[in-house]
């Protein structure tokens, strides 16, 4: 059992305690991870109610499926993987709401979108040493940037990205191809 005042438990230890039904461990994880998750989701969804519900769903899911954490990747990345999918789930339930096309990190999920997107990601990672990457990404049109963000950096599948952005999956793919071309031009 995690006790009040216990010092440094790692996220992994807390999660193992949550899997054993330790409420206080869940509280610790919530204190550590809810703040950044909230900000990150807020940057993707303009509706506070939906963000609220997505975070709530996320920690309920953490409580119920803590034993399914594989140990590959950080607990934070695992929580993010749940969080962004709960956000998409909320979109599905609440018709459409406005999203803010912003940005995200890699390595979230073992699921790969598809070959096009995977090679685009390689491109981005290869070029990460070059200082003009930020400029190149910022220089993309908002539509293309949103697709790069959702698929490459949020690690979503084409279908998930299409739900998040409210555009058909085919459009996600074509925009991703255009973004890839533009990035390549900008970086070479």
């Amino acid at each position: 059992m995690i006790r009040e005042g216990d010092g440094e438990w790692t996220d992994e230890e807390l999660l193992a305690a949550v899997a054993d039904g330790d409420r206080l461990a869940l509280r610790r994880l919530y204190e550590r991870h809810a703040p950044w998750l909230r900000i990150r989701l807020q940057r993707r969804c303009a509706d506070p109610t939906i963000v609220h519900d997505a975070i709530q769903d996320t920690f309920v899911a953490v409580w119920r499926s803590a034993d399914r954490y594989q140990g590959s990747g950080s607990v934070a990345a695992w929580i993010w993987g749940i969080g962004v999918r709960r956000l998409i789930g909320q979109f599905r339930r609440n018709a459409r709401v406005g999203t803010l096309p912003l940005f995200d990190g890699t390595g979230v999920d073992t699921r790969r979108p598809d070959d096009i997107l995977a090679s685009a990601e390689e491109l981005v990672l290869e070029r990460v040493e070059h200082g003009n990457l930020a400029g190149a990404i910022n220089g993309l049109s908002p539509e293309l940037r949103a697709v790069v963000q959702a698929t490459v950096l949020d690690g979503l599948t084409t279908r998930e990205a299409s739900r998040l952005l409210g555009i058909p999956p085919g459009t996600v793919k074509t925009r991703m191809m255009r973004a890839r071309r533009e990035l390549r031009t900008a970086l070479t």
Binding site: Y30, P35, R40, R64, A76, F103, D104, L133
Partner: protein, 297 residues
């Protein structure tokens, strides 16, 4: 990329100014992406960000409220598939729980029903479609479930159930319906497995309804268990008489026995109706203080 992280192990940390910008939805997309990537791997920057959020009263309050919502959900008992099915038909939550706690809806009960049915169907198949055993046993299956639906000694959770703010008669009735809804389709399905049975294969249905009615009526005098046992004994005694007095083959005598002839079918249907009527007139006795449900065992 001034002051922003690249990939790799974090010796680098995001500056407070960058995190503040980030938390207010500032920063351009590339920098925000960089911060988000870093946050996934850096506990120290996550803590720093959490402190910034905690310093913002509104955000901290919102997170506290959110936590209460999370706890509220994880404290709720989980509802299984059966529960969602029942709730989907529009049954209120508290009724769903009372019904789901029916002893005869447990897996062990359903498995025993299936075993009994498999045995009876097996006997019918072995004798080339002679379903006398099935006809004799089938009406007793719902009776067993109803007899154990309510009362000390048959329901392990009876003490809790008695404390429920619902009349015992109502709980008993709801659970009896749940038992019928589960047991009757299973038994009908089993009957239809017997080849050549035709409509005769479900000739047990009206006798079963009659016996259920009798059990309901009797339960206003004695416990549901005694009532069901009485009805079942009556049924078996009648069939035993037929069996013993049979001139030719006892099984064909049972197939031609009174309950399975049109007049008998009508009589049992009527018995079902009368039993339900008696229960509806006398259900107050079921709940009466000092009545049979208070009996101590």
């Amino acid at each position: 990329m001034d002051g922003l992280p690249r990939t790799g192990p974090p010796n680098w940390h995001a500056s407070t100014a960058v995190l503040e910008d980030y938390s207010r939805c500032g920063l351009d997309v590339a920098r925000a992406a960089s911060v988000e990537q870093h946050l996934l791997t850096c506990a120290s920057c996550r803590d720093q960000l959490a402190r910034l959020v905690a310093a913002d009263g509104a955000a901290a309050r919102e997170l506290d409220e959110l936590w209460i919502d999370v706890v509220d959900i994880i404290d709720r008992p989980r509802v299984g598939v059966a529960g969602r099915l029942i709730a989907g038909v529009g049954v209120p939550d508290h009724i769903t729980r009372v019904v789901l706690a029916t002893p005869a809806l447990r897996l062990s009960w359903i498995v025993s029903i299936l075993l009994v049915l498999a045995f009876a169907v097996g006997a019918a198949l072995r004798t080339g479609g002679n379903d006398a055993l099935l006809l004799a046993v089938a009406p007793l299956i719902p009776l067993a479930g109803i007899g154990s639906a309510y009362g000390a000694g048959v329901d392990p959770m009876h003490e809790l159930v008695r404390a429920a703010p619902l009349p015992g008669s109502r709980i008993f009735l709801l659970r009896s319906i749940a038992v019928l809804v589960t047991a009757v389709p299973l038994t009908v399905a089993a009957s239809l497995l017997v080849p050549g049975g035709g409509p005769a294969a479900v000739a047990w249905l009206l006798p079963s309804i009659g016996l259920v009615g009798a059990t309901l009526a009797l339960s206003t005098w004695c416990s549901p268990r005694t009532a069901a046992a009485t009805a079942a004994s009556g049924w078996l005694a009648g069939l035993a008489v037929v069996w013993l007095r049979a001139a030719g083959s006892p099984t064909s005598a049972i197939l031609a026995a009174f309950p399975f002839r049109p007049a008998g079918q009508a009589l049992f249907a009527a018995l079902g109706g009368i039993g339900a009527l008696v229960f509806s007139l006398r259900f107050a006795r079921f709940d009466a203080p000092g009545g049979r449900q208070v009996e101590v065992r």
